[in-house]
Symmetry: C2
Subunit: 334 residues, 2 copies
DNA sequence: CTGTTAGCGCTTTCAG
DNA sequence: CTGAAAGCGCTAACAG
């Protein structure tokens, strides 16, 4: 087990100064081609590779970015796996490696973001922690990072998010075209930034089509099937459409429709703006918006690396959802 | 942007020596509970976290393990995503993080394995590189690592591999039970370690059932559909069974069976020992052995960490395949 | 247990 | 461009 070559060995072999070797390797200073070649040759001959810890200690750079995931079972979902692989590939494109932290303790996960605490130049983190007051405190002495999801409050992190405004508008336009103007939105907790965006978009739509906003919007604080059922029982009738924030609410709507003898798809339309795959199967098949985590991940990594390399700092990037149109809405206008 | 606290700050605040702080944090030496508490309190108050690079430089340890993947498109396959997530989860169990290198240059990927070249305590690597002479050279000054797949030659790395011997025996027993003793194996290149294992197992089976080994075994160097077709044309008849190394060979067998007017499943059985999902669909559906990459990954990480923590070093661990039984073989003996 | 000291291997600075 | 030297923040060894 021979000990690895160090920079001084290379310098001696190439007949140059230690600092020259360093300059060649880092590219931080001009070195003549002749010397450069000598140094590179010596590196090869000695099979020299700079020690990661040592260069990190002095330069503070690692060419590694982190992905911070909460250990909450999400990672089991197919979309999350796509996300991880997408981040990995995008990082590799820019010659970065991906270090994944997967931890149940949010505090520990966040402490990673501090300078020098981990061998990372920057981090991508999933949204859950963003409701967190600590984040704004931490922001002062922390490394570059990009958030997937929309941070609430005035936290200054860059983020990439679903374009909920566009999503709601697109879906509403489509459904109004199919069923007419009796369209309702059962939104989730109005305190969530997602809900706020969606509510705003819905408000604009109502204005555009002269729909009474107040009576066509509902809030379900706990996003239960029960809420979906109750609201649907109040308003559902032939040729009306209910858009729900998620599949759970939609399942309540399904029950209400059945009770009212309305055929989903044919008589009334149902659309879920979000969907967790584990929420069972729907008959007829539920139409919903799929969030493409691969795109989110790739975009987040791209933004992060752009900031690292060029000091740029886009504030917010929006990503489109994919509409999965199935049997719960009509395929063509009557 | 205040500069992070250092160990000396903590020492001063706690009124102890720098080395005592270090000892508390690393746990390498006994420190009284009283002092320990003081130190921990000071750490909290100053929000101190040890600098990763500095401690790595002196201790050589990182609590990070690497997963080395070749940038060859494999990562797109569902099994690979399972593998990555499985490694991630298993590493997290032991409080390790997972650093993924995803590179198209095998040399660079391997150089990662050298002491101090990367912030990792050990690595899991996928098999492709193992045919490589460099690996045995590198083995001298490299970190702990576990290989997924079977290394050929005398390389001393630990590995976790599919139990090909058991697989072949199980499949043969099953098929002979269903169709009788006219069972053939179309193996892939005999130079591959997989093939060698499978051939050996088949040889034992032949002995057990008094089957003529020589005439029942074929080698397809390039694993083509063409080879599958040709060999099958030579031997396929009613109540015979062909086991192929992979789905491509099996597709050739399908064609031969059709040409001979033999019904697959009913008249003859076909089974593929391996399968890449992209090899189209088969009618009737092909039976095959699925390799569970999640299990392989988790096991590899477990072995690696065991070696890191306890210095243990299992030589080789075998993992069972899952048999996916579908229409290309009979469901019960006639 | 304290306190000092010598590294770890690199980057950076600075005078020549 | 060279050569020497300071320093990054920590661990580990040692004498008290």
């Amino acid at each position: 087990m021979k000990t690895p070559a160090k920079i001084i060995d290379v310098a001696k072999r190439a007949g140059v100064a230690k600092s020259t070797v360093s300059n060649v390797l880092t590219g931080n200073k001009y070195v003549s081609d002749e010397l450069k070649e000598k140094v590179l040759k010596a590196c090869k001959e000695l099979d020299f590779h700079p020690n990661f810890y040592a260069s990190g200690l002095s330069s503070g750079t690692s060419k590694i970015i982190a992905l911070l995931l909460e250990n909450n079972g999400d990672v089991e979902k197919p979309f999350y796996k796509e996300l991880i692989v997408a981040c990995l590939k995008k990082a590799a494109e820019y010659d970065y490696s991906l270090l994944i932290y997967y931890n149940s303790d949010p505090d520990r996960l966040l402490s990673t973001l501090r300078q020098g605490m981990a061998p990372i130049d920057g981090a991508v983190l999933m949204t859950p922690y963003l409701n967190d007051a600590r984040l704004s405190q931490i922001a002062s002495d922390c490394i570059s990072c990009t958030v997937i999801g929309r941070p609430d409050g005035g936290v200054a992190f860059n983020c990439v998010d679903i374009d909920n405004v566009k999503l709601v508008k697109t879906v509403c336009d489509k459904l109004i075209n199919l069923y007419g103007k009796d369209v309702y939105l059962i939104n989730s907790d109005f305190k969530l930034t997602v809900s706020i965006d969606r509510t705003n978009a819905f408000s604009e739509i109502c204005e555009k089509y002269a729909i009474d906003f107040q009576s066509h919007l509902f809030e379900s604080r706990n996003s239960s099937a029960e809420d979906g059922y109750e609201y649907a029982m109040r308003v559902l009738k032939k040729d009306s459409v209910i858009i729900t924030a998620n599949a759970l609410l939609a399942s309540g709507v399904y029950r209400a429709a059945e009770e009212k003898g309305l055929k989903i798809g044919e008589d009334v339309g149902v659309f879920a703006l979000g969907r967790s795959m584990e929420h069972g199967s729907f008959t007829p098949k539920l139409s919903y918006a799929r969030q493409d985590y691969a795109v989110l991940g790739a975009k987040a990594v791209e933004m992060l690396i752009d900031e690292l390399q060029n000091g740029r700092s886009e504030k917010r990037v929006l990503v489109d959802s994919e509409l999965v149109i199935r049997d719960s809405i009509r395929s063509t206008a009557d």
